[in-house]
Symmetry: C2
Subunit: 413 residues, 2 copies
């Protein structure tokens, strides 16, 4: 079964927004056995959208459309859909109720423009948007299913997860698709590929292996397609185990989770606590930990000690250490991590200090130089890294490296 | 002048890779007055690529193609180009020299597969790829210019910057494209649209207005196209000012920056400092601030006081306050923000405490309840918000709301 994705909006075509919706949708669709044939981004132009809709059904049986459903003048998708599928605009009561509910919640008056958002072509079936005011729409024409959704990622995602994916799996005769994920860290994509070349070559046509690299972590996803789910599951596990046997040392999880989740789960099971002392990451490590629901049972919090002053007052780093070795040094990051254990009274702690860039580098400590330390009551490990010159990347790499160092420290205990 | 971008590769269609090349190319092209009409991602299938090439020239005068030029079997772009533009494959000496140079650099033997990368259709003009082994190719057919580049971002970028963009600006008669952005906060998209309806209706054909909403902030982007840059600039500013006059109270910046940048710039100009005391945002506010280069000149750091214990030990929140009013209360968040001013010795401070969810809600304090406080030496403002039930969204909304509250406090001073 083939699908096509059409994303609508001038912001995509002037490069102001990167189209992340398509990749996310493609991932979800692949999981249920629907292959994406083409992704097309078009401008907010009626003729252009109309043409894209007609061309899509030549290639696909399901078409997903995002964007152009806002209340403003530049959002014209709905009128094009009306034109393409026929019928007339009429207020959908459920959608209108939803608009009112949302505005009530934020104590805002409903404007005519918002009222109009509940108007949909009579030729469609409404998909409620509990996250926003623009309803989703389902159409069927020339044996092709069309789903129109807002471009706001979390609104589109909620619609896909709660309404569209379930509907697709129920109404279409799709093969079973089973996935098994192996999370690895501390090894690059090409080296992994080298290690498991034989196992990869042995995979049958209906089992695909995808490498999903993400700054220092690589997820291996095995996807099996077929109509006998039990056989498929057994077969999939055999291949998964063969791979795990080859790369055991680098495997940190056998399910689709992040390294920070692995850490929180392990510490929770051991009834241990964690705190952080961040300089160059400026709160990003805490953010990653607290993005996970329930993290408060393990993560106590920490300090964003960006200035020298706070490194001293909050973590008790010695003023001499800072003046003699600088903020980006083994001595400072070690005092930071020990200070965190003490000040935040936790069993484990992470600390980092580095030059995120783009400025602030020196010949001895170029941009991208980062010191990371992890510690528990009886052990401290500090390590120096040299990343690149991109600020955001340095922040992300520091966080992932810190998590991996902590993971190894926990494993040694 | 219209362009079209075609990105080739299965990895895009299974969502393994987000297509960031297109957005980057679109930005560069807009800068030189070329408008991207459509972005199309297609699979590594000859028929599909061929069709995309033929359809593109119906819509555009310049077509940019990336991907599918690697040495492996699944990279078939070149053979399709040969098929589409005619001619025969012949080794290009300059390209071959480049391949050898690159392999020498890495002390690797040149394999036949690499040697073949220097073979290009006789119908093309080679664009040297100094970053990699796959040469770029330029074709001209049916009054349409085609540029084929590798999909590796930095190889593509170097080719665009060093060869293609200069060639386009020299050989094509391109209009100027000017953009003006207005950043607003504290007002929704539809309310803005209502306020500036007249001004929007008055916009000429060659000036477009786009609404770019992002959790509590809406960017208004005016784009003008024309050949007389000076006139265009003047005309654009007239319309920009008309809009600003109507929505003045909500305008927080007249350029394309975020509210956190506005805050950092303003505080830097006043030589003031900022600190944070985060509970439910768990470091996200600090992360947003420190994602901006140079933020250390204003942002001192802060505390991620996730636990009761840290709220007391780091910020000096009274144990009675926590036990009597709870962590999510006006009293607690007020003591947190005052504690931050003191403990982190800053001129301004932000504090927040809330229930991010999905669990932890009560009838009186449901998930999404957040208290935010901002303060300076002589003033404290605390406000209660009720967001939704999505953890990440609650974290993001809290951050944006906190920045807006701080912005208003700064304005009042």
């Amino acid at each position: 079964m083939f699908a096509e994705i059409i994303t609508i909006g001038d912001e995509l075509l002037i490069g102001q927004v990167v189209d992340t919706n398509s990749a996310w949708m493609a991932q979800q669709l692949n999981k249920i056995g629907i292959r994406v044939k083409q992704i097309t981004s078009v401008s907010d132009s009626a003729a252009h959208i109309y043409k894209a809709l007609s061309e899509a059904k030549e290639r696909a049986e399901v078409v997903f459309i995002t964007g152009g459903l806002g209340p403003t003048k530049d959002d014209i998708t709905k009128s094009v859909l009306l034109d393409f599928f026929g019928g007339e605009l009429q207020i959908n009561e459920a959608a209108l109720k939803n608009v009112h509910a949302i505005f009530e919640k934020y104590k805002r008056p409903v404007l005519p423009a918002n009222h109009q958002q509940a108007a949909v072509p009579s030729s469609c079936e409404v998909i409620l948007n509990l996250q926003g005011t623009a309803p989703g729409m389902y159409f069927f024409k020339d044996n092709c299913h069309y789903y129109s959704m807002p471009g706001v990622p979390f609104e589109m995602m909620a619609m896909m997860e709660n309404s569209i994916i379930p509907k697709l799996t129920q109404t279409l005769n799709l093969p079973s698709v089973l996935h098994e994920t192996i999370l690895t860290a501390g090894i690059g994509e090409s080296f992994l590929a080298d290690l498991i070349e034989t196992e990869e070559d042995q995979l049958p046509e209906h089992i695909k292996l995808a490498y999903l690299p993400k700054l220092g972590q690589v997820r291996l996803r095995l996807s099996a397609f077929g109509f006998n789910e039990q056989e498929l599951k057994a077969e999939l596990l055999i291949h998964k185990n063969k791979i795990v046997d080859k790369i055991g040392d680098y495997v940190i999880a056998l399910s689709d989770i992040n390294i920070e989740e692995v850490i929180l789960n392990t510490l929770l099971a051991q009834n241990k606590t964690l705190s952080t002392a961040e300089s160059c990451t400026g709160g990003y490590i805490g953010h990653l930990l607290t993005s996970i629901a329930g993290s408060s049972r393990v993560y106590q919090g920490g300090g964003i000690t960006y200035s020298y002053e706070l490194k001293e007052s909050v973590l008790g780093v010695k003023s001499d250490t800072l003046s003699q070795t600088g903020a980006v040094s083994e001595e400072t990051v070690t005092e930071m991590v020990l200070g965190a254990l003490k000040a935040f009274n936790s069993d484990y702690a992470i600390a980092c200090s580095g030059i995120a860039g783009p400025d602030g580098g020196t010949p001895e400590k170029p941009v991208g130089t980062v010191w990371i330390a992890v510690a528990c009551k009886n052990k401290v490990v500090a390590k120096k890294y040299l990343f690149g010159n991109k600020r955001m990347q340095n922040i992300e790499r520091t966080a992932v490296s810190a998590f991996y160092m902590l993971y190894q420290l926990m494993k040694d205990n």
